[in-house]
Amino acid sequence: MLPDIGPTIPGVTASASATQAPSIAARAVSRRFGDRQALREVSFEALPGELVAIIGPNGAGKTTLLSILGGLQKPSGGEVSRPPREVGWVPQQTAIYAKLTVRENLKLFARLEKVDDPAGAVERALELTGLHGRADDVLSELSGGNRQRVNIAVGLLADPPVLLLDEPSSALDPRQRERLWAFITGLVEGGRTTVLWSTHDVGEAERHADRVLVLADGELLFTGSPAALHAEVGGVQRDFEAAFVRFLHKRGH
């Protein structure tokens, strides 16, 4: 764990920061692709049981930031407090094998994760995601929503303290989306798991996030609650999406 994340972290209250050790923290994380600076010294921390949404326009660096937190990419500069093995990763597109059953997929990744009790971990993941009834179905026979649940279940197998989700609800219909959020909010209850997710849907961020990180052009412009973002632009906007757009305009994006 990163020993010292810095004296002040934007958007984290001083009391919370002082009393709770962060589940995950990034310090001055940068990423460069050739001439393009995808991330510019991004620093933040997330506390146990927090739901943190990463929002921003296209090309802001949301997926890049999550990839670095999840260990899929190495940062050009800066550091992340947790090693990849301690972080659950759920990519935007399902990263599981279509010709295997739900149970076979979970068992495979449980073994690769080297969890102590693979069979137990599979049963727990099936229980958590409500997929017991479909455990022996081949993945290609499942709906997009159920596949996404398996995708998330794989990310949870090692019981990670931090779960990263890249656009988790983008391919789901409203009913599936609601079930997904019921499941995710269930995960953070009790403060055991921290969830960070990237999304284009700022309304979803407003509804479910304890905190939002606003990224634009690789720069972290804001961290705080949705209400704080609203207040940042004077609180005159009717909805959160309008406040978000106004905030970006105000900051020159």
Partner: protein, 453 residues
């Protein structure tokens, strides 16, 4: 890695079409090759239009009647003759493709042949037979043309031998005396040896100072000289009959036969397709299903993924190659005592092809692109490796040699052939090992581009 291998095998098991192709294809190839090699070549069908009347089918050679039909049978020893009545009918059959070619023997063939072999008919036109081939199938046409030309040469040689024997008989009569039949009449010949004796008797009866003694002595000397030299005539005639004789020397560079080569080609082609497509496809599948990023973020190293795909290729390629060799051993005389050498060749060849497949899979974005790339790459390179040394020269030859050396097909062919024939295996195995290491390293470098899904 073991879990990934089990996963891949499970995925393969659930792809019945692919598994069917992987198992059934080499079995069918093995069976076909086995049947082809054990049955031997089929005789091509060739039409025969023999326009020589039955009553005129013999010639007289040295007082002996020879039936030309006997020589025609020799001509058809290597083909399946289809007898027809006329040249037109023969042409029709060739055009329709019922026969691959035709041979037309004209009416005057025996008469002309008689004139040629008659000792008193020097300068007669030799008989001319006609060979008809269909050039629509250039390969078959060329094959039949060559076959009939060869058989004609053999028939000519047989007739020539018979004529030589007749000439030797005449010379023998000339030398030793005797009788021979000409136009139904028996003629007695004194012979040179007896002439010398007769001349000696006449000379003895003449007085010592008779001037005719000298003339008789000259004739006697000439006759003796002819006797002495004609004694070698049999040997000289037999030399003229076969002026050039062939002795084949086989250098012991290897003991592989044509059958071994055919088997090695079949096994190498199967290994190439199975290993290359499997390794390329299964690695591309990891990325197509977005699982690669999930795997390499701490669960398995990139090199681990490469090694697992190599293991899969070696397992499947070795199994397929093994099935083929065992299948062929049912038909052909393959020595099972060389099975360890077969295994070594199959294992290293599968790994080398697998490494190339992994490189292809690392370069392509998805399974379809990987499969297409593998096909596009492998077929022409395998074809180049089959170009015989010496068939092309100069820069092109060097280019082909280099390209064949950096692609696993040629060393695989060499290794499998050596393993079957019991020849030295170390060099092709080392070659394959070098390619395995090189392609694995390149694949690992290519995979470094991919992290995020």
């Amino acid at each position: 890695m073991r879990h990934l291998l089990v996963k891949d095998l499970r995925i393969l098991r659930r792809s019945p079409l692919l598994v069917g192709l992987l198992v059934v294809y080499p079995l069918i190839v093995a069976l076909l090759i086995g049947f082809a090699l054990t049955r031997g070549p089929e005789k091509p069908r060739v039409a025969l239009a023999n326009e020589v009347p039955e009553t005129a089918s013999t010639i007289n050679l040295g007082g002996e009647e020879i039936d030309i039909g006997d020589y025609a049978q020799r001509l058809f020893a290597a083909v399946e003759p289809v007898e027809v009545d006329s040249r037109e009918e023969a042409v029709e059959l060739v055009e329709s493709g019922d026969v691959l070619g035709a041979l037309v023997i004209p009416q005057d063939a025996t008469r002309r042949l008689q004139e040629v072999v008659n000792l008193g008919s020097v300068g007669g036109e030799p008989p001319q037979v006609e060979v008809i081939v269909n050039t629509q199938g250039p390969l078959q046409g060329s094959l039949v043309d060559s076959l009939i030309q060869t058989q004609l040469l053999q028939a000519n040689a047989a007739l020539s031998e018979r004529a030589t024997q007749a000439a030797a008989q005449y010379l023998d009569i000339l030398l030793s005396g005797g009788s021979f039949s000409l136009l139904g009449q028996s003629i007695d010949i004194l012979g040179l040896q007896r002439s010398v004796e007769v001349l000696e008797g006449v000379k003895q009866r003449l007085p010592e100072d008779d001037p005719q003694r000298e003339a008789i002595q000259e004739v006697q000397t000439f006759a003796q000289l002819a006797v002495d030299n004609l004694d070698f005539s049999d040997e000289i005639l037999s030399t003229i009959n076969s002026p050039v004789q062939v002795e084949t020397t086989r250098l012991e560079a290897g003991s592989a036969t044509l059958d071994d080569f055919t088997i090695a080609v079949a096994v190498s082609v199967s290994l190439m397709f199975v290993c290359l497509l499997l390794a390329a496809g299964m690695l591309a599948l990891e990325r197509e299903e977005n699982a690669f990023g999930r795997l390499v973020r701490g669960l398995v190293s990139r090199l681990g993924v490469v090694v697992e795909k190599l293991g899969l290729a070696a397992l499947c390629g070795g199994t397929v190659g093994g099935i083929m060799l065992v299948g062929l051993a049912v038909f052909l005389d393959l020595d099972f005592a060389r099975a360890p050498a077969w295994l070594a060749a199959l294992a290293l060849a599968s790994l080398a092809f697998g490494a190339l497949g992994v490189l292809v899979g690392a370069l392509a974005r998805d399974v379809r692109a990987a499969s297409l790339l593998a096909f596009l790459l492998s077929l022409p390179l395998a074809f180049l490796a089959l170009v015989p040394p010496g068939a092309v020269t100069g820069v092109l030859s060097t280019v082909i040699e280099v390209v064949s050396a950096v692609f696993p097909f040629a060393p695989t062919l060499e290794a499998v052939q050596a393993a079957i024939a019991g020849d030295a295996l170390l060099a092709p195995l080392l070659h394959l090992a070098v390619l395995l290491v090189a392609f694995t390293a390149l694949a690992r470098i290519a995979l470094a581009r991919f992290g995020a899904t």
